[in-house]
């Protein structure tokens, strides 16, 4: 692969929000505006840092920074390649609208413990970027675990019974997963003596096929918990008790995507497509996630709570990403990795809308939304755009990634997976369009205001921005951030092309 640049930029991209987190804590409740200022300042700096990495990576370079040696041959090391950069860019970009939106949300609802909230938020972002830029499995695990812990206070934020129970469930699932990962990484290290990600994998030739399959299962189970692969998905709907911006950024972008990111890292950069073909397990893996795709879609149909419905849709889409990658063909990988970015933009818009509706009207069930489109037209317009995208309708960005996924399924001659992808699109239509229908066409409920009465500007503007972004990315996938090129480069790296 191309040349390596040694630069501390990845480190600073991680540290900037960590420093901001402590500044937030020091500033405290008394100086709210200053405290929020830190958040936004850090978000902008982080975006700038990550953005500045795009150009060198697209030029085929890798940015590396080694902090300190942890084990013989393994260091606390950041290495930015195309795939990591994609996740980093998505997280850093979406932090900006989420920051504004959070401020609007917590102030409208007069939430308690705001300092803790913003502190943990910033810590989560730090660790998400750390996960994205990690150069080896151990660094990845370290940030992954920090992410687990930093998310917990956000999940239990409401401090009522369902929040605490949701938090406990979250911890049980994710900490057990962390232990599984620790064991898997330990075995990998003892087999190979290295943990550095290598395009096309590094574990081939070490250990018997049986052991490798077991190892893959442990990795997928470990990362799959956060990615919501069935049967490890149960915590995600329960964690929807968190405030909506948390659900938006962390359960559409940060935490769950870290899980997906980990799965993909393991599939492509630890095991590698060739080894998976040899072992012949990719069909099993694809089968498991295909099952998740369909079942999560079906379960979403039955949810009346809006955020829970979105949570199941998240599970469905995350599995779709992993499905794309585990089909191991060029187009399916492109589709899967691209969907990682596209889904983030669409899902965050949907959560923003759900939050705006809740902040304005305290409604959180699908059946309560009748006629609300007239009161909150911008919110519902954004919701419609994002929902269309998830159904795979052009010109929203979801279309492109699903198109590539379908192409990939055809390419591998596994028509069943094509059906799975199409079925999931149908299910998306089935569970999103009733919401849109209720909002626009049903007779308004008595408490719906007759005139336009939107949520605060701090919430509406971010959600409109992300919705518009979804369309722009649908028409020009390379707009602004060069997503498509980055994805192409990532896939080319893996396939050695």
């Amino acid at each position: 692969m191309g040349e390596v640049i040694y630069s501390a930029k990845p480190l600073w991209a991680v540290l900037v929000s960590m420093i901001a987190a402590f500044l937030i804590l020091l500033t405290g409740e008394k100086h709210r505006n200053l405290r929020e200022g830190w958040t936004i300042l850090a978000a902008l700096i982080k975006f700038g840092l990550v953005f500045s990495l795009i150009e060198p990576v697209l030029a085929g370079k890798t940015i590396e920074y080694t902090l300190i040696t942890l084990l013989p041959g393994v260091a606390l090391q950041f290495r930015v390649d195309a795939f990591g950069l994609l996740f980093g860019v998505v997280a850093a970009t979406l932090w900006i609208p989420t920051s504004f939106y959070s401020i609007g949300y917590v102030r409208t609802l007069k939430e308690h413990g705001q300092s803790r909230y913003f502190f943990c938020f910033a810590m989560c972002l730090s660790s998400a970027i750390g996960v994205a830029f990690a150069g080896n499995l151990l660094t990845l695990l370290i940030f992954y675990e920090i992410l687990t812990i930093a998310t917990w206070p956000l999940v239990v934020h409401h401090e009522d019974e369902s929040a605490i129970m949701g938090g406990r469930k979250y911890l049980v699932y994710t900490l057990t997963a962390g232990c599984t990962l620790l064991l898997a990484i330990g075995i990998t290290y003892s087999l190979t003596g290295t943990l550095n990600f290598t395009s096309g994998g590094f574990i081939a030739g070490h250990g018997s096929p049986g052991l490798l399959i077991l190892l893959l299962a442990m990795f997928i189970a470990g990362f799959g918990v956060k990615a919501g692969i069935m049967p490890f998905h149960e915590w995600l709907p329960s964690a929807m008790v968190a405030p909506t911006p948390v659900s938006a950024l962390l359960h559409a972008v940060g935490v769950v995507k870290a899980g997906v990111f980990g799965c993909v890292r393991v599939i492509l950069f630890v095991f590698g497509p060739e080894l998976l073909h040899q072992l012949g397990v990719w069909t099993i893996l694809a089968g498991v996630v295909a099952f998740t795709v369909v079942v999560a879609g079906l379960l979403a149909l039955g949810q009346d709570h809006l955020k829970r419905r979105l949570a199941f849709s998240t599970i469905n889409n995350l599995a779709l990403i992993i499905l794309g990658v585990s089909l191991l063909s060029k187009n399916s990988m492109t589709g899967g990795i691209l969907h990682l970015a596209n889904h983030a933009f669409m899902k965050i818009t949907l959560f923003f809308c759900a939050g705006a509706i809740y902040a304005k009207t305290h409604k959180d069930h699908v059946s309560q939304l009748d006629g609300l489109g007239r009161q909150m037209p911008f919110t519902f317009a954004a919701f419609t755009i994002a929902a269309m995208g998830l159904c795979g309708l052009p010109p929203v960005n979801g279309f492109i990634s699903k198109w590539f996924l379908c192409l990939g399924a055809v390419e591998t001659h596994q028509i069943i997976f094509l059906f799975v992808i199409l079925t999931s699109a149908m299910l998306d239509v089935a569970f999103f369009f009733p919401i849109i229908y209720n909002g626009y066409f049903k007779k308004p409920l008595p408490d719906v205001a007759p005139k336009i009465d939107e949520a605060p500007m701090l919430m509406v503007i971010p959600l409109c921005m992300t919705a518009i972004f979804c369309i722009i990315l649908g028409i020009m996938p390379n707009a602004f951030l060069n997503f498509f090129n980055i994805v192409r480069l990532a896939v080319a790296n893996v396939l050695g092309g």
């Binding site: 260091a75 308690h112 413990g113 401090e159 911890l171 064991l183």
Partner: protein, 500 residues
């Protein structure tokens, strides 16, 4: 100066201990500054000795100029250098922390406390520094006796717990002494280096086997290895706050040090593998210790008692690392001695601060504690996360090496036990964190700003002399983690026998 460091490490606290009552006779409040001053000397000397070892390898010091094997030799190598720094640092921090606790629990007994504290440190340092088997026994008893004296000052059940500790501790020490006797009978030497050279020819002698068995049992008692742990929970729970802070983190760790010395320096590693299957036995005892310690800890509602049961599990960790008999395992065990000492020390410091502020030790007393003592609780969270093995705190790294050790040894049951144990720790600590940080279950619903006037919780933080050691320890726990690679490269890898 530097070649007198080994003597200074022992002589300074020993003399200091004898002078403390004299000073305290008239000027009771001078005891603490005096003790702090005295304790700074071994810390400085130990640091210097460790640097010397890192620079130019292990060195010896012949006490009174008598050459070994006849004279008593003080020998500082990488392992003992590390332990010396650890003991000296924890001793100093514990003495700094002791002031408010002593004025509350041991009012008017300052001279007693500081004398015994210095003696305790002397004993522990002596065990680590000496290269003579019988000398280890003497220092072991010095530290134990001062420990008995300190613990007996505690709350209601303390005298009874102390008496039990005396009886069981004496059995442990006597077994150790018997082991020394058998080895002496067989070889005529007491110097560890000398014995290590003589013993390999005698490995199959019955006398050596019996001696080894007595050694292991005696040390296991002192270490609190299950099922020989019965004295430990009572003794450490009932001891006064500043006392358990001092003794609990160090005593078990130093006993673990003796075990590592016996198994890896005195005897060759393959003695414990092939001649007697002691490694396997110890490994399974460690599994039981970890499981039982975890379950017993889950059953406790008194946090101090809970921590003592966690200690039993943690001793299991160290023994497990020793028992797998490979490089990562032993590295993990030694690293865990350091890390666990810091973590247990941190926990007892925090418990001491909480009790000093008049809060109970039951878990439900932790309600809202983060608002009253935010810094203490922040430190508690750090220590707790480290205990659960969450990176980048140091607990993660020792756990990593221990697990690597079990993987290399292909002892899957051991690996699973370790992992489950960190999950148990997560349950143990998160139930407290939940209490401290979150509204009570069922009671305080969605607390919004405006309807939050019911009760005003006043911040009531521990005094600076307690808070500073707490925060230093928390910082050390975070810093030790990423630095563990460096520590291993500089120190621990030289402490692991080259045969691995």
């Amino acid at each position: 100066m530097i070649d007198q460091f080994p003597a200074l490490i022992i002589v300074a606290p020993l003399l200091g201990a004898f002078l403390t009552p004299i000073i305290g006779w008239r000027y009771r409040q001078l005891c603490r500054p005096w003790a702090l001053m005295i304790l700074a000397i071994p810390l400085y000397a130990a640091g210097g000795a460790l640097l010397q070892v890192i620079r130019s390898g292990p060195f010896g010091y012949n006490l009174g100029g008598w050459a070994p094997p006849w004279g008593i030799e003080y020998r500082i190598d990488h392992l003992s250098g590390l332990m010396l720094v650890l003991i000296a640092a924890i001793g100093l921090l514990a003495a700094i922390n002791a002031k408010p606790g002593v004025s509350m629990d041991l009012k008017g007994k300052e001279p007693h406390f500081y004398t015994l504290l210095l003696l305790q440190i002397t004993g522990l340092m002596g065990i680590v520094i000496t290269g003579d088997l019988f000398n280890i026994f003497v220092f072991l008893e010095i530290s134990s006796l001062s420990g008995y004296g300190l613990i007996a000052h505690g709350e209601d059940g303390a005298p009874m717990a102390t008496f039990n500790y005396i009886i069981i501790g004496t059995i442990g020490a006597s077994f150790y002494l018997l082991g020394v006797g058998y080895l002496y009978m067989a070889t005529g030497s007491l110097n560890i280096a000398d014995l290590a050279a003589i013993l390999p020819n005698l490995y199959h002698s019955k006398m050596i086997l019996v001696g080894f068995a007595f050694f292991t049992t005696g040390v296991a008692i002192k270490m609190g290895l299950f099922p020989l742990h019965v004295w430990m929970p009572d003794a450490y729970t009932t001891a006064p706050g500043p006392v358990s802070t001092l003794i609990a983190p160090l005593m078990t760790k130093v006993a673990a040090y003796i075990m590592i010395r016996i198994m890896f320096t005195l005897f060759q590693p393959d003695f414990s593998i092939s001649v007697v299957p002691v490694a396997t036995i110890l490994g399974w005892m460690a599994v039981v210790a970890i499981i039982v310690g975890g379950i017993k800890a889950l059953a406790q509602t008194d946090i101090k008692r809970m921590v003592t049961y966690i200690m039993i599990a943690e001793v299991g960790y160290i023994v497990m690392g020793v028992s797998v008999m490979n490089r990562p395992g032993l590295t993990g065990a030694i690293l865990h001695i350091v890390n666990d000492a810091c973590m247990i020390f941190g926990l007892f410091l925090i418990i001491g601060a909480i009790s000093y502020k008049g809060h109970g030790r039951e878990i439900y007393h932790f309600q809202n504690l983060n608002k009253k003592m935010p810094f203490t609780m922040a430190a508690f969270v750090i220590v707790a996360l480290s205990m659960c093995g969450i990176p980048p705190a140091c607990g993660f790294f020792s756990k990593w090496y221990l697990i690597m050790g079990t993987i290399v040894a292909k002892q899957w049951v051991f690996s699973i036990t370790l992992l489950c144990s960190s999950l148990v720790n997560a349950v143990l600590f998160f139930r407290i964190i939940e209490k401290a940080y979150l509204a009570p279950l069922g009671g305080g619903a969605h607390g919004h700003d405006d309807d939050h006037e019911e009760e005003v919780i006043v911040r009531d933080e521990a005094p600076a002399s307690m808070l500073i050691p707490i925060l230093i320890t928390a910082a050390i726990i975070i810093i030790l983690g990423p630095l563990s690679g460096k520590i291993i490269a500089a120190v621990i890898q030289h402490a692991v026998p080259a045969a691995f």
